[in-house]
C-alpha cells in the first residue's frame, strides 16, 4: 500500500495555474527527490501536501487516509486538517525556527503541547515530560547537536539551524517528511552537514520527499526522482532513468544547465 498518493492535483492562484494535474505515489521507506526549474511548482506542491495551501482540485492520500478530496469537500474540517498536518512533516527552506526558544525547546514545544491531549496526561505529567525531554535530546544528538541544545537559533549557524528544524519535524514522528530545498539558504560549506543528516535518515528507512537542486545528492540518496515542469510531472523513475538517461527533451535541457 502506498504511504502517499497524489491524484490529479490542481492548484491555481487567481488566474495563474501552477499545478496542472500532478500524479504520483510512493511506498513506505522510499526516498523521492523532486527536481525541476524555478517556478515549476515544486514548493506549491509541497505546500498543498502539507495543508498550507488549499488545492483547487484533486485527491491526497497519506498512509491510507484520504486527507484531501476536492470531490468530498473544498477544505477539510480543522481537526482533520490538524491530524493530516501531524502525519506529515515539513522542513522549510528558511528553517523557521522559533527564535525565543532554545534548540531543545524548539524540538519539544509541539510534542509537549500535543501530549496535553493525552487522556493520561494529568496522571503522568512528570513521566511524559521526562520522556519527551529524552526524545528531544536523542533527536538533537542524532542530528549532531548535543552540544548546542541550550543555544538559541540566533546563536547557531544556518546549517545548525536547519538540523534543529529537522529534529523538530522528526519529534512528531511523521509518516512522510518533506524537505523544500533544505540547503539552498546555506553557504556551500554548510550544506554538507545537512545533507549528511538527510542521508542518515534515508538509511533508517524514513519516507522522504526532497525538493532539491543538488543533483549529485539526489542521485545518491533517492530511490526515485521526479522531474516537474510547468506544473506537471514530466518524468518519474529511478535516479538512473531520470538523471542519467532522461527520455524527455525538457529534462535533458534542465539537466544540461547543471553540467556547465
Amino acid at each position: 500500500m502506498a504511504i502517499l498518493e497524489v491524484n490529479n492535483l490542481y492548484k491555481s492562484f487567481g488566474k495563474t495555474e501552477v499545478l496542472k494535474g500532478v500524479n504520483f505515489s510512493m511506498e513506505q521507506g522510499e526516498v523521492l527527490s523532486i527536481i525541476g526549474s524555478s517556478g515549476s511548482g515544486k514548493t506549491t506542491l509541497l505546500r498543498c501536501l502539507n495543508a498550507l495551501e488549499v488545492p483547487t482540485s484533486g485527491q491526497i492520500i497519506v498512509g491510507g487516509d484520504v486527507v484531501y478530496d476536492s470531490v468530498v469537500q473544498k477544505k477539510p474540517p480543522k481537526e482533520d486538517q490538524r491530524r493530516w498536518q501531524l502525519s506529515c512533516g515539513l522542513v522549510f527552506q528558511s528553517f523557521n525556527l522559533f527564535p525565543q526558544y532554545s534548540a531543545l525547546d524548539n524540538v519539544m514545544l509541539a510534542p509537549s503541547l500535543l501530549a496535553k491531549e493525552r487522556p493520561d496526561y494529568k496522571a503522568n505529567k512528570k513521566q511524559i515530560h521526562e520522556e519527551l525531554l529524552e526524545q528531544a535530546q536523542a533527536l538533537l544528538n542524532r542530528v549532531g547537536l548535543s552540544e548546542k541544545m541550550n543555544n538559541y537559533p540566533c546563536e547557531l549557524s544556518g546549517g545548525q539551524q536547519q538540523r534543529v528544524a529537522i529534529a523538530r519535524a522528526l519529534a512528531l514522528s511523521p509518516k512522510v517528511l518533506f524537505f523544500d530545498e533544505p540547503t539552498s539558504a546555506l553557504d556551500p560549506e554548510l550544506t554538507f552537514e545537512v545533507l549528511k543528516v538527510i542521508r542518515e535518515l534515508a538509511e533508517t528507512n524514513m519516507t522522504m520527499v526532497i525538493v532539491t537542486h543538488e543533483m549529485n545528492f539526489a542521485k545518491e540518496v533517492s530511490d526515485r526522482v521526479i522531474f516537474m515542469d510547468e506544473g506537471l510531472v514530466l518524468e518519474d523513475g529511478s535516479p538512473e532513468e531520470v538523471l542519467v538517461n532522461p527520455k524527455n527533451e525538457r529534462t535533458r535541457a534542465f539537466l544540461g544547465n547543471f553540467q556547465k
Binding site: 495543508a51 498550507l52 515539513l90 522549510f92 523557521n96 522559533f98 527564535p99 500535543l114 538559541y152 540566533c154
Partner: protein, 235 residues
C-alpha cells in the same frame, strides 16, 4: 502655608493620577488586543459573490469585511479627536442622549482613557502581530499546533519583544495625559496645585513636574530593564 500641607495635597492628587494610569493600563491592554484582532479580521460575509459573479460592483461588495471596517473606523475616530473632548463626551452624552447621566466624573474619565488608549495600543499590537513572518505561523501549523497555541506560545512572545519600545512611548504619554482629568474637575495633581496658585503660591504648580519626572524616570528604567531582559534572542 506649610510645605507639609502642599506636599500632602499634591501627593494625594497624584494618587488619583496613578489610579487613572493603573486602571487605564489594566483595561486598555486587553481591550486593545481585542480591537487589534478586530482590525485584522478577515470575516467577509459576501465572499461567495467573488466566485459566482464577475460584475465589478458585486466583487467590491464581496471584499467588504464588516468587523475590520467597524474597528478601523472606531480607531480613526478615537485617534482623530482630542482625548479632552472624549472625556466630555463620555461624561455628558449618556445624560443628553439616553437621560442616564453618569454620576461619577471619575468613572467618565476612566472610561474615556480606557477607550482612547485601547485604540492607540491596538495599532501597536496590530503592527507587532502583522510583523511576525508568515513562516512562524506556517511552522506552527505543520507542527500541528492549534491557532491558540500558535498565538500564545509562538507569536505573542515575539510580539511582546517587538512592541516594547512603542509601548514604552505610549505609556509615558499616558502618565502625562492623566492630568487631563482636570477638565471635568477630577482633583488630580495639577488641579490640586492650582488651588495654591489661586492663593498666590506658584511653586506647588511648578513642583508637580517633579512627580511626573520621577514617575516617568522609573518607567524608563523599567522599560530599559525589560528590553535588556528580552535581549537574549534576536527576531
Amino acid at each position: 502655608m506649610s510645605f507639609q500641607t502642599v506636599f500632602q495635597s499634591l501627593t494625594e492628587g497624584f494618587g488619583l493620577n496613578c489610579l487613572i494610569f493603573a486602571v487605564t493600563l489594566i483595561t486598555a491592554i486587553p481591550l486593545g488586543l481585542l480591537v487589534s484582532f478586530g482590525s485584522m479580521s478577515k470575516f467577509r460575509p459576501f465572499k461567495f459573490l467573488e466566485r459566482i459573479s464577475t460584475s465589478k460592483i458585486l466583487r467590491a461588495i464581496s471584499k467588504f469585511a464588516p468587523i475590520r471596517w467597524i474597528t478601523r473606523t472606531f480607531v480613526w475616530v478615537i485617534r482623530g479627536t482630542p482625548l479632552m473632548l472624549q472625556i466630555f463626551v463620555v461624561l455628558y452624552a449618556p445624560g443628553l442622549l439616553f437621560e442616564m447621566p453618569l454620576r461619577s466624573r471619575e468613572t467618565a474619565v476612566l472610561i474615556a482613557f480606557a477607550v482612547n488608549y485601547a485604540a492607540y495600543f491596538s495599532e501597536i499590537f496590530r503592527g507587532g502581530i502583522e510583523g511576525i513572518p508568515r513562516g512562524q505561523h506556517e511552522a506552527c501549523q505543520v507542527l500541528g499546533m492549534t491557532k491558540a497555541q500558535a498565538f500564545f506560545r509562538v507569536v505573542l512572545p515575539q510580539v511582546v519583544k517587538r512592541i516594547i519600545p512603542p509601548m514604552g512611548n505610549e505609556i509615558i504619554t499616558l502618565v502625562k495625559d492623566t492630568s487631563l482629568a482636570r477638565v471635568v474637575a477630577v482633583t488630580e495633581i495639577i488641579m490640586c496645585a492650582e488651588r495654591f496658585t489661586k492663593q498666590g503660591l506658584i511653586t506647588p504648580l511648578f513642583s508637580t513636574g517633579i512627580y511626573f519626572l520621577v514617575f516617568n524616570g522609573v518607567l524608563t528604567l523599567f522599560f530599559g530593564w525589560l528590553e535588556k531582559k528580552l535581549d537574549y534572542y534576536k527576531g
